[in-house]
Every structure is written in C-alpha cells, then in structure tokens.
Symmetry: C2
DNA sequence: TGGTATATGAGGAACGTGCCTCAAATCAAC
DNA sequence: GTTGATTTGAGGCACGTTCCTCATATACCA
C-alpha cells in the first residue's frame, strides 16, 4: 500500500480536495465538524504531507541567517566552512544562507546587528552569541516576527529561542576532568585557562571539571582560572609564571586562544610531562594532538552542528517535529589516534 | 537568481525540452553534437537536477535490503532499531527497507540467503557480514544485476561493493591501545578477549592495539587473544583462569559477548583495579560504564551508521556524488561522563 | 533526387501539493 | 420562505521533472 495523498484523505473524509487543503493548511471557512472529519481521516490513513512536493508547489525558499563571532576565532571559521559545505551538498534544499559575523565582546554591537536583520524576509536565525538581556530582547523580537530561532554552540536558556544545538558544557567539563584525572600520573596542580570567565560556557565547563576532579581525584588541586582576554602576550606571561611557581601536572584550556597557550607550553619545555586538554578541533589543536602537545581534545563536530542547525531550522519553519536522536550533538573525545 | 531548470537549459542550448530530457537521462536518439550543446549549457548555468521533483515525477521508490547478523547480538539489535527510527523519521524519502538476519558463523547460509534476494525488485543492499569468497561472489552477482551494494560496519575490501560505511578497525584498535596505556597505572599484562579471531575486525583491532602498546607503553605486555566463540561458559572459565594465574592490569574486549566477560570480571572481584575497555555502546556496556566496570567504550554511532547507509544507497542509485564529510563514521570514545 | 533512417520539436499527462476562482449548496436569522 | 452569509465543491494552473506520442526536420545512402 502506497502512502496516502490528499486525494485519499478527501475520499476517506467524504469531502472535496479543496476542503482537505483548507483544513491541512489551517485556512478559514470550514465548519468545526468538517475539520474534525478531515483530521479523523488523516489519522485513520496515517497521512503525512510530502514536504518536498509541498515545497515544490509553493516555490518555498528557506532564508536563514547565521550569527557567528568575528575575529580570529578558529572554531567559528571552521563552523563557517562546515556551513558552506553542508549548504553546497544539500543543493536541492531550497535554502539561502547568510552568515553575519559580530564582535563577541561588544553586546551592544551584537544587538545593533540583530536589529538590522530584515525580519520580513527571514525564516530562521541561528545564534552563537553570549546571553545578555539585550540578546534576549532581540530574540524575543525575532520570535514575535515569526522567525525561528536556534541557539548554536552556546545556549540562550532564558530567551525564547526554539531550540539549542550544541553540547552540555557541564558534561563536557566533567569529561575533561575525568580524562585529566586518569591521564595524570602523579599528584599536583592543574592549571585552568580561559578567554574570559564571563562566558557561560567557561563557567559551566569549570563547574563540571572541578566536580569530577575534587570528587574522584584527591591528589589533584585545580588552580583558580587564568583569563587571557584574547591577548597572546598576557596568556604567555601568565602561563610561564604559573608553571615556574607551582607544581603543575596538567593544563585545561576551556576556551579559544590555544595557539598562544601551546606556544607558551612549548617554550617552557614542559610539554612532555604535562597532560594538556583543550576544547574544539581546529588546525591548531589537531596538530598539537599529533605532536603530543595535547593529550586530548574535547570537541563537538562542526559538520554536525551545521547540518543539525539547518535541519532544525527547516523543521521549525514547517512545524514538523524534530528528530532528537539525530540532532543530539555528542561530546567527542579526540586523541591522537582517532582524529576524524 | 533562481536555480536553473530544464527549461533554462533548453533555452540556453537552443534545443527543445525533450532533447534536454533525452540527454540528461541518457536516452538514445541524440547526435553527439547536440549532446555536447546541452551538456555545455548545463555547465554554463550550473544546473543541478532537483532530485525531489524528479523522484516525484517518476514515482520513484528506493527498495533496500539490510543484511545483519542474527542471534543475540546487541549491536545488531541496536542497529536495527536505529534503522527503523531513521526510516520512520525520513518518512518522505520514498524508501522501503527490509531487514534480513543471517547466521554469521555459517558462510554458506549467508550466501544462500543472498541468492534468494530478488534482484529485479531491488535497488540497494547493505551488508554486515564477514568477507568470504562466496560473499564476494554474491556481491559481484548483485552488482551485475545493477544493485547498489554497501558494506556496513565491517568492510568487504576485495569485493565489488560500492562503498564502505564504518570505521577503520586498525585505528579503533590503536585508540583502545592508547587509552589503555594511559589509563593503566602500573606495569603488568593486558588480557585481550574476542569472539573469534577469524573475523577481520578482531584481527585489525588487535593489530592496532598491539602496535600502540608495544610502541609506547613498555611496561605493558599484551597476552595472546582469548576466543570465546559466543560461549558464555567458556568465556567465564578462561577469564577466571587467566586472572588467577597472570598479573593482569587491563582487559580489552574486541568483540561482542561483553555480558559474559563483565560477569566474569565482577565475580573475580577485580573490577576496581582493572582497566577494561570494550567496543560498541549497548545496554550492557552502557551500564558497565556507569557502574565503573568499563573504563571506556570505543564505539560507532548506530544512528549515524543507519542514516549514512540510507543516504549513500540513495546517492548511489541516483548516480549522485557522496558527501564524504557527512558519511565518515567517527571512532567515538565513550566514558562515564559523555554517554550520549 | 528520392527514399529511408535518424534527430529533433512540440505538446501533454502525471507525480503530490498549494493556491486561486467561481459557482453551488447549506445554514441561520428574519 | 426569503435573504444573506457562510461553507463546500469543482476545477484549473503551477512547481520541476519524467516519459510518452506524433509530427517534422535533417542527414545519409543508393
């Protein structure tokens, strides 16, 4: 038996095609009793709208905007590349993508840019920005205009976003903590570096990391987080100083800025006996893994993030349910031997 | 500018729609010169066929068969479930799936079952079976009948299969080896168990595992593989004996049969001080991870395998190029903290 | 040059859906 | 029972493609 079509529904419900169409597309001018008849037939026959045929008929075009951090952010760059690739590969998907880069450090600039988006000509937005009250307002404005909104990589839990695509930062931090505890071979201190602890992600990763280390690895002491504020010189100075004065056995890098960190570690000559763990697979961290400068990388797959965001945005636009199993982004552990 | 259609191609090439159609679908009755004109226009305009519209017009139905191991194989069971789920979620995809279970231990039965497949009513086959000469012949027969064939989980490199969907077993073994070496805290011996070393996967995993351990972890000695042949009693007896007589610090389970192995380990009372690593995330291994009986699981995502197989089979049927980045199955490392 | 085989053009129906119009049927209120 | 509004039906065109048929144009060979 083939999939039922609108024609089958019309026959089953004893109404005309036009009425079925009115009901399915929630157009006015149908009595409640008739609506019920049609919906009944839909359920009985297990009708599922053929989205492709529907999109063909209505010449649908999904117009999405991705808002990503600007600046020398390797992770954002690879996310961009993944987005382009996913877009090119799904050429038949009637989707137009625009990528907007914003300065992460300047919440007002972000919001200004978000306000410039022409909501009338927009179906969905994916946001990778820190949560601030202004961003929450901007999200509310987008939602009010009927635009689908997903948070990407870093969640906006208190906003009206429809969906979050990314990993649980606390769990990622716990995973890093467990690896650190098992990899390190003698008691000592763990240096934790981050761009800025104002970022929710860093806070949550630290939380998870500390919980596992203090709960299960009594021999390790986690030092207060060192912030680099995207300044390589600062990173270098602080790391060198801490390594000289404390008994460091492990380094946990929670944010970007790994190039500067790794340079500092190499200069210290301590690479061999330190266990270093960082986040996100980029050219820098990948070569550090191969070289042995990093013991592990905790990552999320950018290709998956990109494809997931596109699929979820489309599903939201169509009012379809989201296939959770496929959209769950996993916390990946990358070692030298399983780099993609 | 919108995507070009066949009409645009016809106009650009200065021919009729019918001729464009004949060229695009490789139908006879077109002069070489005209073919070239059309193909030229295709390139110039960057035409890409709208697969959905094409499938709609030709009422296409993809008919696929998945050949999976029968018996109490938890991995195969979860792969089945993932397949059902992927299929249900992609309801609009005009795909009919049949799952055939075969006894892995009996190559002749496998081939007999493969011969029964009605190739005329078949578009693609995904095979998760060991490579034997008979299987190779069966693959050749399928290919000769114009059926797309992909190897699933375990490759058939010397057959005519179109594609392999799964991970590199040597790299998976290397990953296990690296984890084992870094997790174990004192010199000693590593017990390796497997269903049967005749399986290519087990051989390759062992190869990778040994290479890393002997190359980088001088304090560890890997014992000869113990085979269980799917017999829980045998597994229990052998493991108990080895644990009693040797100085085992780690256990590496290369195949299925983890339930019996874990029971034996629990009975030995050595769970706490052994580092155990197994393959594939199943209810058994997942609860062992949570409980601490397994330190790590090396896995491939069954959902990804299922979706990938479906996408690749469809692409092969349509003669489309395959989106390698999306289809690459990663070697996942699962610890207690990043289970799904 | 005529005859024949081959190439090409023109057009239409179909796939499942959306969206439109116009007429007909039904309903509620008077 | 008439009026007027609301609901429903019938049908058509469109989307981009496939796959027909039939008529015409072109090339090739004798």
């Amino acid at each position: 038996m083939n999939r039922p079509t609108v024609h089958d529904i019309a026959k089953e419900a004893g109404v005309s095609l036009a009425t079925v169409d009115r009901v399915l597309n929630a157009r006015p001018g149908v009595r409640d009793k008739t609506i019920a008849k049609v919906q009944d037939a839909v359920v009985r026959l297990g009708y599922v709208r053929d989205t492709y045929a529907a999109n063909l008929a209505r010449k649908r075009l999904y117009r999405f905007v991705f808002v990503l951090p600007e600046g020398p952010n390797q992770f954002a760059a690879s996310l961009c590349a993944a987005l382009d690739e996913a877009h090119a590969a799904q050429i038949s998907d009637r989707t137009a993508i625009e990528i907007v880069r914003v300065p992460l450090r300047d919440p007002h600039a972000i919001v200004r840019r978000l306000r410039q988006l022409a909501v009338e000509t927009l179906d969905g937005v994916a946001l990778m920005v820190p949560e601030t009250p202004q961003v929450r307002d901007a999200v509310a404005r987008l939602k009010a205009a009927g635009v689908a909104v997903v948070a990407l990589v870093s969640d906006l839990p208190n906003s009206r976003r429809d969906h979050f695509i990314g990993t649980n930062s606390v769990a990622a931090g716990r995973t890093a903590g467990l690896l650190m505890g098992r990899f390190v071979r003698r008691p000592g201190e763990v240096l934790v570096v981050s761009n800025s602890m104002r970022a929710r992600d860093s806070l949550e990763r630290r939380l998870g990391f500390d919980a596992v280390i203090s709960g299960e690895f009594a021999g390790l002491r986690v030092l207060p987080s060192v912030e680099s504020f995207d300044d390589p010189a600062r990173m270098s100075a602080v790391v060198t100083e801490v390594l000289a004065r404390r008994d460091v056995v492990g380094v946990y890098s929670m944010g970007s800025g790994n190039t500067a960190l790794l340079d500092a570690l190499r200069e210290s000559g301590r690479i061999g006996d330190l266990v270093s763990i960082a986040h996100e697979l980029t050219p820098t961290t990948e070569s550090a893994l191969r070289e042995g400068a990093l013991a592990a990388v905790i990552a999320q797959n950018v290709g998956h993030l990109a494809r997931s965001a596109l699929r979820v945005l489309r599903a939201l636009c169509d009012g379809l349910s989201i296939y959770e199993a496929q959209e769950r982004v996993r916390i990946e552990i990358i070692l030298r031997e399983n780099i993609s």
